[in-house]
Amino acid sequence: MPQVRIIAKNFMDMVAALPAMKLDKLYDNSFICEAILRSLPPLAKKYVLQMLCVELPVNSKSMEEWVLPDGASKHRVAIDRLVQLRIFTETKKKGDVTYTLNPIFQTNLKKLLVYGVVLPREPMPSSVTVRRPSSEELEAFALEQWECFLLQLINSSQTERPSNISSSMMKTFQRGLVTQRDREAPRLTESGFQFLLMDTNAQLWYIIREYITSSEERGIDSADLISFLLELSFHVTGEAYNINTLTEVQKNTIKDFTDLGLVKLQQGRKESWFIPTRLATNLSVSLTDTSSRKQGFVVVETNFRLYAYSSSKLHCEILRLFARIEYQLPNLIVGAITKESLYGAFDNCITAEQIISFLQQNAHPRVAERIPSVPENVTDQIRLWETDLNRVEMTTAYYYDEFPSRDLFDGAVDYARSYNGLLWEAPDDSKKMRLVVRAENHGHMREYLSGQK
């Protein structure tokens, strides 16, 4: 994923950020406890299991002895995470630090060990659920839904059919990604462009995060939502789950998830069910932060031509951000990276590095093993064009001259420098005493100069 300014925090960060009350409530559900456990870094997992039957607080010093000296930093990370998630309670007494396992969490996890995994709901037998999609069909459905959603999100004219997502919800998602000045056609913001260059998982997280944070506006408890998402992520892709096992709120949520491609809804003669797609179950993959690598699809040639093995309109829109699209075929998009197309991208604050890393991350397997996967002359040129745009730097400033004395001049130079406002000073050997200071520091300079008189 390109380094972008949108921080697509991972799901666990979001869980950890919940208020204590809500976190504790979350742990009432033994399934959630298991989910959380599975999401922990390996060392933290070990600590939880080691503490499972320990009722008393454990001293931090003795805990440190559990790891070899070179594991100290991992130890720190593990402990921090556990404390953040309130799985460990930290107590400080006279300089002594001790940890206790969250009792609710502990109880539920023990129950789990004794009685086995308690799924929130069981898959329905295939005898009941007819016409279940094949895994390819489901995959295609998910991607189509997601793509359709994204196209709508960026207000593309390529959208073939609007999704059912309410316009108010869409507006929520668009916050920060799309701006619209009155009467003008909406356009992507800088973040919007960067968002499009992220991989699907990162994009999904961004959207889910917006969905959760805005849930209170819709009168939904964010902890409920998080716990439902966690449940969902531990379901099995392609299995059918009965709608009737859901609460009213969850039933509404599942409709939104259908539009995002997380689940597919089907109706039988008597019952209806939802089928989680890979997008939903990937939520749990992202829980442990291993981003699943998609197969790349882009070939860039030394003559700046670009071939994308994709039938996705969205890919086409993304490539259009920085390339000139020339041909569209059923499974191939042909374009060229030109100076003009790149200047367009730079205007939208997409950086050369983002474009290059997008091309590298999505390199077609044919060229992915090649080093470099994107020809060097192309990446060099993209960077050079960017540098070329930044050759002239302009700063609003004040120019000072006519200093009555060398002392005053030197003092003023030092003063300006102390504010980090000095832009230029006449070289020492110059007879003329002149300096240029950022405009925002002019007030200070004036004060200083009048004070010295």
Binding site: E301, T302, L329, P330, E376
Partner: protein, 768 residues
């Protein structure tokens, strides 16, 4: 559909302003001057080429190409069927670009004409294309192929036992032609004509398709390989040109293919020549020959191979197969010598059967068949000739040539072609070239004057196979110094812009650095190219290196080249554009280009060609071998000047062949360079004064002399009106320099540059 048409609508605003500012030097004074200006863009908007509705075949993964309704074809080079698909596509379509993973081609009327003439039939083209295509073929493309090939290749002009026949497998077409007055009047009706409309009927061998490997060798081709019945009528030899003209697309639109049934030619005497056993044509050379001789006859057409890939062996092989008298045309006297040498090198031809006809050597072969090597100019020359020349030309005129072998066909102007072809009577014409720049409208002329393109090799494949050198190309960015740039920007210096960016001290230093690096670190042999004579002399003098330009005498030239070849102390030679194609320097493996002719893509390719000849052992040169990169091409460019524009434009042809130019931004490296020239400001300023005081004309491009490049002279005469450069008054600039390393100072200097009119006179004198 890809008719190669260009939109000439007004270009986008800033583009057009860029265009206007391109200075006078953009006129094509360069040899040829024929590159069509392709800067005129369409309206800048990319047409929607949305072919997403094409139906993808279920097994599309196994097929190598996509075909679009507008004629564009995309080919995956990593497909298992790449080789077959390439051979097929190069026969039916024009390559647009051929980098590593994906090739692009355009289907055009010309390319289909070529396809038909190498024996591919409409139905074969469509069905093979369909087999290779990942999608169902667009209807538009099928219609286009039908439309374009409906008439092409249906009629052949055959010279049999010295009688001309118009031949076709379709009697109805012949009938149609005969409805034309000119043609019917030209017809010679044999005695005792029978019922078949009076046509002679015979069987000819079908195509033995060279590319009939695997996929292509199926039912369609099997049909083509069968014997075919052909109908023919004879025409009056004196009317051949008229009949041909009537058949052209602008008239009856049945362009005639020319084939030579040399095996059955009992009238013209055979020439005793064979390829020597050590002359082993490489696979691509073999392939080009098989396209030419596919059906046992010799077809007229053009073969395109990169420089250094062994065009001459193809030419000599063709002559050895036909085994009849051969007239070989080159662009200048130096090439004539080289061709004569190649004939002797590769074939068993006896010395007395080959001769050269140039202004300096007027040889004649003995016996009743032989090879004559000469220049286009010698044949096309319209002025008064010497008695001796007149005799030779008369012989050339009267002889019936088995093969007319034409080198570097891309540089020869169309009128000259017409003249040459009108003067010489030949059964078969083979054109050779390395750089068929595709925007060139001349391709139309070449198509009908010589014949279609028979084969075109893929540069990258030859590099991978180790047949030509793997060249590292680099564009070295040299920032202008403050003082030079200030002068460059001044309006009053508009005529000196070129001199200023070429003489940019930072460029000079980069050049000096590179020469040192390659001479000392790698022991390489270096050619430095400068079109600008002022720069050439300045650089060569300052760096104390020998140089060769138009006015350098033959003796001195030979001396310098010999030293470059053999001496360990002479490792760099400075060349003006005389070195672009007429000087053979196989030892060189590094090129540094300090100035060039505007945006000529062809010149760039030709210069690269100087170092393409592969050296060393084959296995070392192959991909991954220990000498994978053993050749270097540097183009030195002053940044922020028009040179940047030209440089990018020049590279386009090579880039389309898969070459890439690495940009190098700081040479010499920041921590070095104190020992290089023009390190001090006062030296730089002195140089600046020199550039500014030189006359505007003196700092322009070199005009070539007649003994350098005959064709160039021909062109420069035509352009003389726009070239005031050599008008005399600026002789003083030349006064300061001698040519190359001249011990006695001003010994061989040119007293005065020649007046074009006078040079014309000199040119005449050679023949008088």
């Amino acid at each position: 559909m890809g008719h190669g048409e260009k939109s000439h609508r007004p270009s986008k605003k800033h583009k057009s302003s860029a265009k206007e500012s391109i200075p006078v030097e953009d006129y094509e004074a360069y040899v040829g001057g024929e590159e069509l200006d392709d800067d005129v863009r369409g309206d800048g908007e990319v047409k929607k080429r949305d072919f997403t509705k094409l139906e993808l075949k279920p097994d599309h993964m196994n097929r190598p190409l996509w075909a679009c309704a507008d004629g564009r074809i995309f080919l995956e080079t990593f497909s298992a069927l790449y080789k077959q698909a390439y051979d097929f596509l190069i026969a039916i379509a024009e390559p647009v670009c051929r980098p590593e993973s994906m090739h692009e081609y355009n289907l055009t009327p010309h390319s289909l004409y070529a396809a038909v003439s190498v024996g591919l039939e409409t139905q074969t083209i469509i069905s093979v294309l369909d087999k290779l295509s990942k999608t169902k073929l667009p209807k538009e493309m099928i219609d286009f192929i039908h439309g374009s090939t409906a008439n092409y290749g249906k009629v052949k002009l055959v010279l049999k036992k010295n009688r001309y026949y118009v031949e076709s497998p379709f009697p109805e077409v012949l009938k149609k032609l005969l409805r034309d007055d000119v043609i019917s009047k030209s017809r010679i009706i044999p005695e005792g004509a029978n019922g078949n409309g009076g046509f002679t009927i015979s069987k000819t061998l079908g195509e033995i398709a060279a590319d009939s490997s695997g996929l292509l060798n199926e039912a369609e081709l099997a049909a083509a390989a069968e014997e075919k019945e052909t109908h023919a009528f004879e025409i009056d030899p004196s009317q051949v040109e008229k009949v041909k003209e009537r058949c052209l697309p602008n008239a009856l639109n049945y362009p005639m293919l020319e084939e030579y049934d040399f095996r059955n030619d009992t009238v013209n005497p055979d020439l005793d020549m064979e390829l020597k056993p050590q002359a082993q044509p490489r696979p691509y050379q073999e392939k080009s020959l098989s396209k030419m001789f596919g059906n046992g006859r010799a077809r007229s057409g053009i073969i395109v191979l990169p420089c250094g890939a062994g065009k001459s062996l193809v030419g000599v092989s063709a002559a050895s197969r036909i085994k009849k008298s051969c007239l070989c045309l080159a662009t200048n006297a130096v090439s004539v010598d080289q061709w004569a040498f190649q004939f002797k090198l590769w074939s068993t031809i006896r010395d007395e059967h080959i001769c050269r006809f140039t202004s300096d050597s007027k040889e004649r072969f003995r016996g009743n068949a032989g090879v004559v090597v000469t220049t286009y100019n010698m044949v096309a020359f319209g002025g008064k000739r010497s008695e001796e020349s007149e005799k030779i030309i008369e012989e050339i005129r009267n002889r019936e040539w088995g093969l007319l072998l034409m080198d570097e066909v891309h540089v020869v102007p169309a009128q000259m072609f017409r003249k040459v072809i009108a003067i010489t009577k030949s059964h078969c014409k083979l054109g050779l070239t390395a750089t068929l720049v595709r925007e060139d409208e001349r391709i139309t002329d070449l198509n009908f004057l010589i014949g279609p393109k028979l084969y075109e090799a893929n540069w990258l494949d030859l590099v991978k196979g180790g047949f030509i050198a793997n060249v590292q190309c680099a564009e070295v960015w040299c920032p202008m110094t403050k003082e030079f740039f200030a002068e460059y920007l001044k309006k009053e210096n508009s005529k000196k812009k070129q001199a200023l960016y070429v003489m940019n001290p930072n460029k000079f230093r980069a050049c000096e650095f590179l020469i040192r690096f390659h001479e000392q670190q790698r022991g390489d042999k270096i050619i430095v190219f400068a079109d600008n004579l002022f720069a050439l002399t300045e650089y060569a003098m300052k760096l104390r290196k020998p140089m060769i330009y138009g006015a350098t005498s033959h003796v001195e030239r030979t001396k310098i080249l010999e030293a470059f070849k053999t001496s360990r102390d002479v490792n760099t030679v400075f060349l003006s554009k005389v070195g672009d194609n007429s000087i053979d320097i196989p030892e060189a493996n590094v090129i540094i280009q300090i100035s060039s002719h505007a945006g000529s893509r062809r010149q760039e390719a030709q210069r690269l060609g100087r170092i393409l000849r592969a050296k060393g052992k084959l296995r070392d040169r192959m991909a991954g071998g220990k000498e994978e990169y053993n050749a270097f091409f540097y183009s030195l460019v002053s940044t922020d000047t028009q040179e940047m524009y030209y440089s990018t434009k020049r590279q386009q042809f090579l880039i389309d062949q898969g070459y890439s130019f690495k940009v190098i931004t700081s040479l010499p490296p920041p921590d070095s360079g104190a020992d290089l020239s023009y390190h001090r400001l006062d030296e730089q300023l002195h140089l600046l004064t020199k550039v500014l005081t030189a006359g505007d004309d003196a700092v322009g491009l070199e005009q070539l002399d007649e003994d350098v490049d005959d064709i160039a002279l021909h062109k420069s005469r035509r352009f003389s009106g726009s070239m005031s450069a050599m008008s005399g008054a600026n002789g003083m600039v030349y006064m300061e320099y001698s040519t190359g390393k001249n011990k006695n100072g001003k010994g061989q200097m040119k007293s005065k540059p020649k007046d074009p009119a006078k040079r014309h006179h000199l040119f005449k004198k050679r023949f008088a």
